[in-house]
Amino acid sequence: MIESAAASYEVENVEMRQAYASTLLELAKQNPNIIALEADLMSSISTNKIQEQIPNQLINCGIMEANMMGIAAGLALTGKIPFLHTFAQFATRRAFDQLFVSGGYARLNLKILGSDSGVTAEHNGGTHMAFEDLGLLRLIPNAVVYEASDSTMLSYLLRKVSGEYGVHYIRTMRKAAVRIYNFGETFEEGKGKLLREGGDATIIASGIMVAEALKAADILHDNGVQATVIDMYSIKPIDKELIIKYAKKTGAIVTAENHNVIGGLGSAVAEVLSEHCPVPLRRIGVKEQFGQVGKTEYLKEVYNLTAKNIVESVRELKSQ
């Protein structure tokens, strides 16, 4: 058993938005070049405190995401380190060409937090529910793409990317996540975290689906099936070696993501497997569907994003 894995699925006492705002405030206080950018969602992500304490380092751009990308590019051109936040679908679907050209193609230094991703957008519903952001970001050359699974990871990744150059995208939920990691855990780019180890199947998950994967592994364990669980927080670059190692070891892979199976984690894993080590694969995720309103737990059921769905997929693979 790997030590860092949550055993009780307890919900953290720190919300992801608080983790973002506090970490960024701390980073910005240390480095006057860090500028937080918001598009009228400051109060949704709790960056008000940055504005209160260091007003020159928080710019609320108003409801203009496309312009915010360009403002960030201009800040980056002059050596500033812009951290942009908006809901995931606005950061990606809405302002994609701006992010692609003014950020990626121009090779500028932009840090982007896409919040309220996937079903965690809850009552905002289909218009606000990004099941596509990881896919879009993966298409930008050299962009580094993460999905944070808890607040320890989110804080770590924010600190990490603040000192690295290039386009870094971090996907997250806003509210409290299930705690996966202990304080002090580290997260490398291009690596996955091994959370459980078992020889019968491998579950590769990201974001809110990591907790579901752990639950699934426990259910499987109780039924005599030993599953490996990997938190693939680094969606791009992805940890090829780890995927190949466990594909060979277990011969069956299930991916689980709060995102369209096209373009996101499932696709990324499928690409690695088909090129390097083809083994049977099942992808848990959204399939030819748009979002809708509802509570996260309800939407997980609707889109088949539960531990039960993961268990079924593992069983299906093992019975082949």
Binding site: N67, M69, G70, I71, G74, L77, Q98, A106, R107
Partner: protein, 283 residues
């Protein structure tokens, strides 16, 4: 701002000549919208901007962003003439592996401050640069040329609202009001009605000038520098294909692949500019 107008006028002729030669050598390209910004480039690079061609990324420089990226050929001519790179490089425009792509790329061309070409985006970056300098208390100025057709893009108006709100008085936006976009006259496609009124309403200190007059552009920039509270908009009354009478009257002059008649006229314009420059040098 102490340069003699006559010197800037000479640079204007040189930029126009090199732009024509560069495009003629390539065999096709964005003639119309390159020629209409020649005067403005001459004033900026010949008399106004703080630059160091030996150190293109000098921190204290003024920034220039060509938001209407398809005017790249004229921009490149200005940069080459100021010594950012050798003039021969102009004849690699759009060739395989070139450092001069159709639309400017900050990672390829010395002196290019921002990658542009996807319309509407350069102005946001320019506003970001101006904001950055304001936040840092620097005195660097930021100049940006947008196209009249480009102002169809909503993002430009987002950027203008932002610039006015943040009182970015070290930002000057030039509108190349050449009255045409790719598919025809701007008034027939999306009628701009009155750019000056719009900019005023958006909170800019707004001036309207003859975009073919070095003196008027120069004076407008000088006047713009007196502003403490507002960003500056200079509406340039220009003609697409400006400075080459044949191209000025050609209807579809956004992107030209010259036929025999065009070719003769372009060569004549080149010859005329060369004669004029010879007169200036010898006279």
């Amino acid at each position: 701002m102490s340069h003699a107008i006559s010197e800037i006028e000479q640079l204007r002729d040189e930029i126009r000549l090199k732009t024509l030669k560069e495009l003629y050598h390539l065999g096709f390209g964005h003639y119309g919208g390159s020629l209409s910004i020649v005067e403005t480039l001459a004033v900026l690079y010949g008399g106004v901007m703080k630059i160091d061609p030996a150190n293109p990324r000098w921190e204290d420089r003024d920034y220039f962003i060509l938001s209407k990226g398809h005017g790249g050929p004229a921009y490149y001519a200005a940069l080459a003439l100021k010594g950012f790179f050798p003039e021969e490089v102009l004849y690699t425009l759009n060739q395989n592996g070139t450092s001069l792509p159709s639309h400017p790329d900050r990672n390829l061309t010395p002196g290019v401050d921002m990658t542009t070409g996807s319309l509407g985006q350069g102005i946001s970056a320019a506003v970001g640069v101006a904001l950055s300098h304001k936040l840092s208390g620097n005195s660097n100025r930021t100049y940006c040329i947008v196209g009249d057709g480009e102002l169809n893009e909503g993002q430009c108006w987002e950027a203008f609202q932002f610039a006015a709100h943040h009182k970015l008085n070290h930002l000057s936006v030039f509108v190349d009001d050449n009255k045409k976009q790719l598919d025809g006259l701007t008034k027939d496609i999306i009628d701009p009605i009155d750019f000056a009124e719009k900019f005023k309403a958006f909170g800019f200190y707004t001036l309207k000038v003859d975009g073919s007059s070095i003196q008027e552009i120069y004076d407008a920039i000088k006047l713009g520098k007196t502003q403490n509270e507002k960003p500056v908009a200079i509406i340039l009354d220009t003609i697409k294909g400006q400075g080459v009478p044949y191209l000025e009257t050609k209807a579809a002059n956004h992107h030209i692949r010259p036929n025999a008649e065009d070719e003769a006229a372009i060569l004549e314009a080149i010859a005329e500019l060369e004669r004029r420059m010879e007169r200036t040098v010898t006279g």
